[in-house]
Amino acid sequence: MAAPWQGVLRKIDDYRWEIPTSYKQGMTVPGLIFASEAMLAHIWEEQVFQQVANVAFLPGIVRNSLAMPDIHWGYGFPIGGVAATRVKDGVVSPGGVGFDINCGVRLVRTNLTEEEVRAKIERLVNELFLNIPSGVGSEGKIRASEKELDEVMVQGSRWAVEKGYGLAEDIIVTEESGCMKGAKPDKVSSRAKKRGIPQLGTLGSGNHFLEVGVVDELFDRKAARAMGIEEVGQVLLLIHTGSRGFGHQVCTDYVGLLGEAVKRYGISLPDRQLACAPISSPEGEDYLAAMACAANYAWTNRQFILHWARESFVKVFAKSQEELGMRQIYDVCHNIAKIEEYTIDGKKQKLCVHRKGATRAFPAGHPDIPDVYRNIGQPVLIPGDMGRFSYVALGTEAAIRETFGSTCHGAGRVQSRAAARRSLRGVDVARSLAARGITVKTGNMASLAEEASEAYKDVNEVVDITHKAGISLKVARTRPIGVVKG
């Protein structure tokens, strides 16, 4: 029997599928999905290619509306989507960034081995849980004043480092050096600020977590060494969180404002959640200035969490930070819009690259990556689900050519939260993880079921596609031994 997508999707090769503009009237560029044939079944079932097609309506979009292999159904934009629009005459869409602005991942190396950490894993996970506020509506130990929050919005990670939370070298190995330029606090509503103040320095809930992982396999030893990943069995720490209620309120505010702007600028869209405005319009500029504030808030947030995580390791292992070798490897954001330059039709053009659930993946030699990685390429951090694996990869030239320097961001959900809750109980998930040697600490057992492995695609398959398609190359794989869930 012919596959149901036959006649709709055009197969380019084993990893690339095109949605021609003829699929839906109003598309100005084709869609391009990176996936294996096996993955298409789910993508088809979810009708997520409809959303890929809808993004192709955005004024000024160039080349393709892109979908990474971890794609799943979002609101407006699909999650795992990339869209680049011309700065000159294109639009910016808050929905193309997402609610959790600068949701991202930070990876830290240690000198510890699996054996050393397993001996104290219960204590370590408990200590991390106590030291780093998490959970629904969690409030932080930092209580920034309004003036201080303004500084956070403009300075990003540096603000926390100058207050003694972390090291100057952390900033160097953070995307954008932990500070997005163009942030204007007066473009952020007082509501967002009010939601942001108590939540600074918190992990949050949902899919956000801390993961103590062990290097399980090395694919590129030279690149791994450049990142301080020396051998199988070495312990790493992964932090996954974003801009909390602050970023959500910025997105909520601007989806509303740009929903009105759409009418003013006569833009016709197939979904209201795609609300957008010309990049050069006052509305578009204001959104980008507010988005930068939220991005900087998120980097500051991860900076605090890194500091407390280091403190926890120091306490549990009774060694100094230097002895533990807890250096940050890199920090990436996977919900963001950035102005970047690409060669389109032989001409250099400034584009606004929306990455919603997609990771920047710049190649070796790119001026925007730190000196330490200039020769190997930008580290790409891809967290999987809490029961399986996470990956470290590298950006490539192919990503620049095909995906505006982007690749996947995680495993991607396949099961709804409600379905996961129905079929699994949090305590059983914790027990089954324990049986696999993974210690989990959470304040919310019910939400644990929602994040079970069964609810996600296999990250191995996702990363294999991006590797084979060449848009990011595998460096190392880690498996979790300890997880803190909000």
């Binding site: 959790d100 629904v136 108590p198 809930s205 209620g245 509303g256 959640q273 959900r413 379905a419």
Partner: protein, 140 residues
């Protein structure tokens, strides 16, 4: 319209939504708000000890529904109040006036299940047949 049901949960891969019903739009808006807080915690555990008055405007009914639910998300996020009962005092196409009753989160009595972060415009619907049916998807 579906009788005897105030609201139901709408499933979605990454997020979750609510379909709420009402004999009139006011009731449908109130039930949507109840649906929202039922995602956050068990409403049977919540007492009515305080209330907040709210007044909102938006460009149409659908936007007003999103604005209403986002107002409640904001109140929960900043004041920590779980609301369980809603009096929609006034409601037309662009304007809403309401009083919401509930209490502050008490972690010894309230188990917080889900952090609802925003109401979205995606799959948003306000429909009138026999009664009203409204649909909204949340970012969680």
């Amino acid at each position: 319209m579906t009788m005897g049901k105030d609201f139901e949960i709408l499933e979605h891969t990454a997020d979750v939504g609510i379909i709420a019903y009402g004999a009139d739009l006011r009731q449908a808006f109130a039930n949507a708000a109840r649906g929202l807080f039922s995602l956050i915690t068990e409403l049977d555990d919540v007492e009515e000890v305080t209330y907040r008055d709210m007044e909102l405007t938006a460009s149409d009914e659908e936007s007003l529904l999103v604005a209403w639910l986002n107002e409640l998300v904001y109140r929960f996020g900043t004041e920590g109040i779980i609301f369980k009962r809603f009096d929609i005092i006034q409601l037309d196409n662009t304007h809403l006036k309401a009083r919401a009753y509930g209490e502050k989160v008490d972690s010894s009595r309230h188990e917080l299940k889900t952090e609802v972060k925003a109401a979205t415009y995606h799959m948003l619907k306000v429909e009138k047949n026999d009664g009203f049916r409204v649909q909204v998807l949340f970012d969680i």
